[in-house]
């Protein structure tokens, strides 16, 4: 029986939640009306479907970035932002809102570019420090702090009536107003990141044994780490540019996946992707359904993600 095999739990769970989210929202209709009633059809295919796909991809992207960084930095509390990618993206969005608030595509593009730039600077900075992984974490922290400070500065000078609420909403994330056309732009870097990281799943096990071991197995660990960082940055930056900053999902999803499939990356990496997608779908469904107005997504993910992390870590102990 295929469902009883625990490797298939996450894909099935994801499929279930995905379908469920398509039938839940502020506008309730009888599911049988999807093909007969034009309003129901419109809400289902033009509003919910692209949004659910975007949320799934963003959730998978963040979880994969999380699990990759947790592996590379051998730190179970690492998240997508360890090298400053989401802070950089948020800064890119904020600065674009401040100067070109009326061009949404520019805001998205600026967010994506600055996410990549932030990681690039952190990476270059760490090679100056010449202390390997520790240096990378330190420079990541510094870059993250720098961009957070820049965001603070932008918030300080932003027009308090219109632009500031927008920037704040952006910092808390939201998938509101997402259509097929928006998906078209961000889907490519997210898919490259997701597919690439899932294909690299076997590499993480080798990297975990240490650089010397990896070398003896004929694996260029430095190069693979760089490729991993690049792919994780691409995916996390694209998802941030789509919906703003989404907290916790990237850190928590790999922990939930570990509970069920263990620490073997060949199973853990794809499982993390499914958990991330499922978790973010649940959170986004709540965000758009609970109240007449949209709730910023990070409010929900923090409410759900933080306690889950505490429970898991207290049960298992921080290794």
């Amino acid at each position: 029986m295929i469902i009883l095999n625990k490797n298939y739990v996450f894909p099935f769970l994801f499929a279930g939640v995905f379908l469920f989210s398509l039938f839940v929202g502020r506008y309730m209709f009888d599911p049988s009306l999807i093909f007969t009633n034009s309003l129901a059809n419109n809400i289902f295919f033009d509003i919910r479907l692209p949004r659910a796909i975007a949320v799934s991809l963003a959730g998978a992207s963040l979880a994969l970035a999380g699990v990759s960084f947790q592996n590379i930095f051998k730190n179970y509390l690492a998240g997508p932002n360890i090298l400053g990618v989401t802070s950089g993206s948020a800064f890119g969005a904020s600065i674009a809102i401040l100067f070109f608030a009326y061009n949404p595509y520019l805001v998205q593009f600026s967010a994506f570019i600055f996410g990549v730039i932030a990681v690039y600077i952190a990476y270059k900075l760490s090679s100056l420090l010449k202390s390997g992984i520790v240096g990378l974490i330190l420079s990541g922290m510094a870059i993250s702090a720098f961009f957070s400070a820049m965001i603070g500065l932008i918030k300080y000078v932003a027009d308090p009536y219109e632009k500031l609420p927008t920037i704040v909403f952006w910092l808390l994330g939201s998938f509101v107003g997402l259509r097929w056309v928006d998906l078209g732009i961000s889907v490519i870097p997210m898919l490259i990141g997701i597919i690439g990281l899932v294909m690299l799943k076997w590499v993480f096990n080798i990297l975990a044994t240490g650089d010397e071991n990896a070398k003896s197995l004929g694996v260029d660990s430095k190069k693979l780490k760089n490729i991993t960082i690049f792919l994780a940055t691409l995916a996390a930056s694209a998802s941030t540019s789509l919906a703003g900053m989404i907290q916790w999902v990237g850190v928590v999803s790999p922990h939930i996946a570990r509970l069920l499939v263990g620490v073997d990356n060949r199973k853990l990496v794809p499982a993390s992707a499914f958990v991330g997608a499922t978790l973010l779908l649940l959170c986004d469904t709540l965000a758009r359904t609970l109240t007449p107005s949209e709730i910023p997504i990070s409010i929900i993910t923090s409410f759900i993600g933080a306690p889950i992390l505490i429970i898991i870590l207290s049960k298992r102990g921080v290794k």
Partner: protein, 353 residues
């Protein structure tokens, strides 16, 4: 919280006491008049009168000061969104004369030596205001979220600029116009009133906020003979999605925005071109209307109050206003209040031909 403030905000002291103090400076005697003004937080400030130097930290205030013909007294401040296209048309000097103070830096404000600072009442406990007060700079906190507060603000400005008669003239004009619109809409039965959704662009693609509860736009629609769909939401800006709009399924949508770079007409275009909205009644039947924008949106409580009211009433009930020429009224208001010709103002929006 805001309602709370409004409840507790004390009615303004009508004719503030004028206290004359004699001060000897050499041989000459100068009389300094002091006006005491009670603001929306219930605090009373004493202001040198007539004021010569004004700092505004509240975007809705500069247009009102221009309405009083006192725009040249503003030494620092910007309007809503800082775009100020209308004020630029009235007074091209504004942007160079008035400093753009985005933050309320105490020393910077103090060095401008203002007679009065206008600030939004929800900021009264934050930032530098307590410090400013301790430095002896009068800070007047204002809240213009409801019509009655707007009237109070007009009265207050009358006192501050010693133009009480003019303030009364404005209020009479507002009352008379409001009553005229209400008289016409009184005959409309409840089920003839269209259900209206008011959407304001939220600076993010396909993202809009709608007024909740006591926000003025809801009152505007009610006065104009419509039923606003969003009045059950809590007061404030509520960011809604298409599904929420679909579950209300309004007959009419009115769009609004706050800068020429992205005016209400552009927001309307976005909605008409966005597949997500195409099945909602208002969009299907072509009943999406862009709120006129001349650098100030006519749905905010400010100098365009009467224009916004007539426009909304005519938009919701065109058959009742066939005799009414909105452009003529606009032109005469521009001349009367701002001394500017309609040809010098960029005006966009629907139903203004």
């Amino acid at each position: 919280m805001r309602t709370y403030l409004v409840l507790f905000s004390i009615l303004l002291v009508f004719l503030a006491g004028c206290i004359s103090t004699e001060s000897k400076v050499g041989d000459t005697t100068t009389a300094v008049n002091m006006v005491s003004v009670t603001d929306f937080t219930g605090e009373t400030s004493t202001i040198n009168s007539p004021v010569e130097r004004v700092v505004s930290n509240y975007g809705l205030i500069p247009p009102i000061i221009y309405l009083f013909g006192e725009g040249d007294k503003i030494v620092a401040g910007r309007g809503v969104m800082g775009a100020d296209e209308f004020i630029d048309a009235v007074d091209p000097e504004f942007k160079t004369r008035s400093k753009d103070i985005k933050s309320d830096n105490v020393e910077e404000i103090k060095s401008l030596n203002p007679d009065v600072i206008f600030a939004p009442s929800w900021g009264s406990q934050q930032g530098q205001y307590p410090q400013l007060k301790s430095l002896g700079v009068p800070v007047v906190f204002i809240d213009i979220e409801t019509s009655s507060n707007y009237y109070k603000t007009i009265e207050m400005m009358g006192e501050v600029f010693q133009k009480e008669a003019y303030a009364q003239e404005l209020i009479d004009y507002y009352n008379q116009s409001t009553n005229d619109v209400l008289k016409r809409t009184a005959s409309i039965s409840e089920n003839e009133k269209p259900r209206v959704l008011f959407l304001v662009y939220d600076q993010k693609k396909n993202s809009y906020w709608t007024p909740g509860g006591e926000f003025y736009q809801n009152n505007l629609i009610t006065m104009a003979g419509g039923k606003t769909v969003s009045s059950d939401l809590p007061t404030g800006k509520a960011q809604i999605n298409v599904e929420q709009a679909a579950s209300w399924n309004p007959d009419i949508i009115i769009t609004s925005a706050h800068t020429m770079e992205y005016p209400s007409t552009k927001v309307k275009e976005d909605i008409l071109n966005d597949d997500g909205w195409k099945e909602i009644n208002a969009v299907k039947n072509g009943n999406v209307y862009a709120m006129p924008f001349d650098g100030e949106s006519w749905d905010t409580l400010g100098p365009k109050y009467v224009l916004g009211l007539y426009w909304t009433a005519k938009t919701l009930h065109p058959d009742m206003y066939t005799d009414f020429d909105i452009l003529k009224l606009t032109s005469s208001e521009y001349e009367r209040f701002f001394n500017v010709s309609i040809d010098e103002v960029t005006l966009v929006g629907d139903n203004i031909e």
